[in-house]
Amino acid sequence: MNKKHSIEKYLFTIPVIIYSLLLILLPLLYVLLISFFKSDSYGGMIYTFTLSNYIEIFNITYVRIFLKSIGIALITTTICLFIAYPFAISLMSKKETTRNLLIKLVMVPFLTNSLIRTYGWIVLLRKNGIINSALIGTGIINSPLSLMYNNIGIIIGMVYTLLPFMILPVYSAVSKVDTSLIEASYDLGASKIKTFTKVYLPLTISGAFNGSLMVFIPAIGYFFITDILGGGKIMIIGNLIKNQFLTARNWPFGAAISIFLIIMTLLLVRIYKQLGGKMDDLGGM
């Protein structure tokens, strides 16, 4: 009985194992390997060991790009947190059917390609776009606002694209909070803000950190958003890596930056675990 069960288990997990080995582990190992090679003038690689790609990352130009990327990602994460919490908490007072409907609506954007949705924002945000025309038409402003081709455009795009990744884990954490605790807090005379900081927040911090990871990490790499809504004027780590593999034809350096990014990500996950987060929460929602 037990044996049969384990055969079945293997049978069903083997495709996943093969998939992970072939399509995730092998390419990663390849990236790791080439990050120690030199690049030749034709965009190929010279197979001699070097650490120069990793040293190059610490060039001031690239350090600035790293800092800028982290800054943009931090702002995005913070805004997402500020939107996700009130949304999740207000959902709790809704009827279950409404709640389910609203959560489904959060996921609706996933049905369309994010690139197309980002292009959609151009129509809204550009100089003669819908928002500016509406504001000028109603006499609220006189000259168009610069809503895109700058940092504002990038942040709007990042928050818009990544918000569901914050809402879902935060909501799942908030929905597990025992309502009697909240009622007790109010009964004891705590204000709404106090109830949030003393009851909700400590009980849902792992959800918040989980969501933050899921927002922060892609925000460093989503080069298409900086390209489209930032007007290509601002480079984040994602753009830098893309450039190395395309225009600069310097795969080893691109690989080294990728590895560096992976190490940064792993460090963040480690912090998450140390704060008491569960790895399972990162995978499924």
């Binding site: 690049s39 290509g232 753009n239």
Partner: protein, 333 residues
């Protein structure tokens, strides 16, 4: 997991198309720039010759190189690399020699476009279309512009779109300073960086995908962009003027080449020959108004073409010095 499944399906689909295409001999495998040949032309070719065209696209020379060099020999028959990429592919021994006796319509090629520096005797390549970078501006809002230095005017704040291409854009700054577009001297590049810093506040965006949209929607009044894009913008708004900058501009010639080890060489020649036909060429430049290399469909006089070619410069492969351009590009952004 759903993603993984879809991905596997796609992979299977790709593998399957790979299998069928090898069996059938009445086909030609073409890899071309995205939006470069109207679909109609491909369909007409298929109807006329009965040869099926497997048409793939790429959006940069580097992507083309990656695709060709990472696939099995014989995967692609005809591809369309630009000048420096032709040179690079010749260097890597990736191209078949071009046998012009197979091409009835060879005579249609204007001689001015032959024997260019990247392939002296056209041993491997024949010219297809010529693109040049130009300055385009909306003359309704902007006084006359003749050269890059006019773009430094502080009145044009947030009013310029540049190509999101490090070689062309940094190259334009170099040309503005009267250096060669392929110059990689450190101090000259530093000067180019300073030139950009003077222009920085005027630059609204870098865009290579559709810079014409910026001019058409009045998002910016000025752009440095490819000639065909500028002409299309002009079709929308006749107030848009096109200028070949006095201190030079980039030339980019896209060429027909046949990939080494191609499985359908005969069909490849038929395909190239078809595109060399006058009426076909006319259809292509009607949709994508680059400079035609066909002397019978030329929209420029011989004199103009000579001028365009002699005042512009080809982007050349600068080998490992590309890293300098890349570092500067990262510094600019």
């Amino acid at each position: 997991m759903k993603k993984a499944r879809i991905f596997l399906l796609v992979i299977c689909g790709l593998l399957m198309t790979g299998c069928t295409s090898n069996k059938d001999s009445q086909i030609v495998n073409v890899l071309n720039w995205s939006s470069y040949i109207p679909d109609e032309v491909i369909k007409d070719f298929e109807k006329e010759t009965g040869i099926k065209v497997n048409y793939g696209t790429y959006s940069s020379n580097e992507e083309l190189l990656a695709k060709v060099s990472s696939s099995k020999e014989g995967t692609y028959d005809v591809v369309f690399p630009s000048d420096y990429m032709v040179e690079l592919m010749i260097g890597k021994n990736m191209l078949e020699e071009m046998d012009i006796s197979q091409l009835v319509n060879y005579e249609n090629i204007d001689e001015v476009f032959l024997n260019q520096s990247y392939d002296e005797n056209n041993k491997y390549s024949l010219p297809f279309l010529l693109a040049t970078s130009v300055i385009a501006y909306n003359s309704e809002n902007i006084p006359k512009i003749t050269d890059y230095k006019d773009l430094l005017n502080p009145a044009y704040k947030n009013d310029i779109v540049l190509l999101d291409d490090e070689r062309i854009t940094i190259g334009a700054f170099l040309q503005a300073l009267r250096y060669d577009i392929n110059d990689y001297d450190d101090s000259h590049l530093e000067e180019a960086y300073n030139f950009y810093n003077q222009m920085k506040d005027n630059v609204k965006a870098f865009d290579s995908d559709s810079p014409k949209s910026f001019l058409i929607t009045n998002e910016t009044n000025i752009g440095i962009l490819w000639n065909a894009e500028a002409i299309l913008a002009q079709d929308h708004n006749s107030k848009i003027k096109i200028v070949y900058p006095k201190s030079g501009y980039a030339l980019s010639m896209d060429n027909y080449v046949i990939v080494k080890g191609a499985n359908h060489i005969e069909n490849a020649y038929k395909f190239i020959d078809y595109l060399l036909r006058d009426d076909v060429c006319q259809k292509i430049i009607d949709d994508y108004p680059y400079i035609s290399t066909n002397k019978n469909t030329s929209n420029y006089s011989e004199e103009e073409l000579k001028n365009i070619l002699s005042n512009g410069s080809y982007i050349k492969n600068v080998s490992e010095n590309i890293k300098k351009f890349d570092r500067l590009w990262a510094k600019m952004k």
